[in-house]
Assembly symmetry: C2
Homo-oligomer: 336 residues x 2
DNA sequence: ATTGCATAAGGAACCGGTTCCACACCACAA
DNA sequence: TTGTGGTGTGGAACCGGTTCCTTATGCAAT
């Protein structure tokens, strides 16, 4: 519609002056600035970000790569990133990449190479070295959430410590027959988060002098996933553990629903602990290790935008630990 | 990095020819085309969409306005839209607008006015007339999902019919003491979807000659929302209805969990029906009216992209009904 | 009085593509 | 032989901003 040239004409100044007046860069007298602003608002001028980014190289938009949308953790992250970016005047372009695939290659070769964004936030996606290099070559900063990416600033909880804490909570209550139910390693999309939580569990058990052989059951990282495993596992009272550590609240909730259906009392017959802080945890009185995805998202945005400051040095690679805390409710107790 | 001028130089042709060769528009001999393509791949040329859109006015990206991310329906829609757009070479820019607010005005005045997108899909957001007009003035097609927007092509289920069908299912089983539990009208963000489902319920009840006074309980549109209402409502056996129609599966699931906690048998003491087709419905054997958000999303993307075809006429305003179907499981039965 | 600097504003180049226009060539019809 | 129309290509304008370079002015310092 209306271009900056129209504004300039209307205000009786040169394009250059109008540009300076509106962007606030360079010298413009207050009087001229007001004239230009008045002219701009009069004709409803909105700058074309395309034209601007063509010359500045900045697009005022950030790409977000995320493997799931509907899981609690990821949805929370997404909502917060979007809010934080919007508040700072950035657009958010979403790339939902469920698994390494041709789709994914396409995104990297085609979409991301088009440099339509000033930076990228990668949420729970295990990036290949070549993919990190591509972004690096494009001069686009990258920040990760949810796992370590070599050479990249990442915000993540300490999964091993969280899993150990959860397991230790069960141990401290006197449990010795504890089972870990978590993500299948074959499902690679989570930064080995599954493996880490299993590792934390194993550490804690071994430190207590307990064996862990056959103490792990894999399942889909969802409520129905936990439910299915729960039904299969708790059916036989002789096989049933006295406590389970679920790798996520969603799994834990599925387990509790299964237990209730089987008439197993939680916590007296079965203690359950999860990780996350899911909004349904309260409802199920679920003891859990809370993490705070919204904070993690805000930290990631802040880190990325700081790296986009004109004078900024590249983002320091490394790991920022997001805090977790144990919330005790009544899904765990001493074994009978 | 490398611009089309570099490609042209390397191939020994003019910029114009290189552009034609790469975009496939206009006359280029096969021989020249191959030379240009070879040169482009050699230096790893990727066109700058910014520069292109500056002149063509096309950005190859679509804006999506959505009020929630974490609710099942919206997450499904979002995932499908993203997939469909990606497959067609479009980027997706997300605007998450939980409520009418200054944020929202900012998005319209600032973000959407920047015409960074070729079209907009609005999911479950009640757009004001002025907002529709703004998009119209910008010449950007708009397609809605989940409710009617005047003058805009919208894909939506028939909420009134779905609610009536759900209620009729309960009536046909012999229930007369039926309660509807659904969204609070104060929560305006859903296209009066709450009101419509209530209307469908009322229609069905009245058609059966039953009163509906005091038969509606409002609640938050989530699992905990249903749970809270369930605890409050089912506690007193004399007040308890024999059947409830929940406005969403999430609410229905919350109700079932509450009922189980109170020791109420579903369905023998209490029938529950929902709307959605949530992945947890199976787990709770929930009878429900399924809708298919992924299909709705695909239809919306198709309609929008069709309107973006060079020769396309504007999207025909009007409503496309998305299908629903009753899935009978065992959360409903005849009353005792 | 001259230099120096900060402020102010205009002209023009430029970012990286697309597209209009002009021109050349060739085949075929009149 | 001349006209006509489809092909193929190059030059240049253009999209809408930003920024470099230049010039002009007022004022303080030398």
């Amino acid at each position: 519609m209306s271009a900056i040239a129209d504004v300039a004409r209307l205000a009786g100044v040169a394009k250059a002056t109008a540009s300076r007046a509106l962007s606030g860069r360079g010298y413009v007298s207050e009087e001229t600035r007001l004239k230009v602003v008045a002219a701009a608002t009069m004709i409803g001028y909105v700058a074309s970000p395309n034209a601007a980014s063509l010359v500045t190289g900045r697009t005022q938009s950030v790409g977000v790569i995320i493997p799931f949308i509907s899981r609690w953790f990821f949805a929370e992250i997404l909502e917060s990133i979007e809010q934080a970016l919007l508040a700072r005047g950035y657009d958010m372009t979403l790339y939902n990449l469920p698994a390494p695939s041709e789709e994914r290659e396409r995104v990297f070769d085609f979409f991301l190479a088009r440099k339509r964004f000033d930076g990228v936030i990668s949420v729970g996606v295990e990036l290949a070295d070549s993919e990190v290099q591509l972004l690096h070559r494009l001069g686009r900063p990258l920040v990760g959430i949810g796992g370590e990416i070599p050479g990249v600033h990442t915000i993540a909880i300490d999964d091993i410590a969280a899993a150990r804490l959860a397991t230790e909570h069960l141990l401290s209550l006197g449990h010795t027959d504890i089972r870990h139910i978590g993500g299948d390693q074959i499902d690679q999309m989570d930064f080995a988060v599954h493996t880490k939580r299993l590792t934390g569990f194993t550490h804690a058990m071994h430190a207590a002098g307990l064996p862990t052989d056959g103490c792990f059951s894999p399942c889909a990282f969802t409520v129905p996933g936990g439910y299915d495993v729960g039904l299969a596992l708790f059916g036989d009272p002789h096989q049933r553990p006295t406590a389970v550590f679920a790798a996520s609240d969603e799994i834990a909730i599925g387990l509790i629903i299964a237990a209730r259906e089987l008439g197993i009392q939680v916590p007296s017959e079965l203690s359950v602990i999860g990780i996350d802080g899911h909004p349904c945890a309260e409802m199920f009185r679920l003891t859990t290790i809370e993490q705070h995805p919204r904070n993690q998202a805000r930290m990631a945005v802040e880190s990325l935008l700081a790296a986009l400051e004109p004078a900024a040095e590249p983002v320091a690679a490394g790991l920022t630990r997001a805090p977790t805390n144990l919330v005790m409710r009544s899904s765990t107790s001493a074994p009978r």
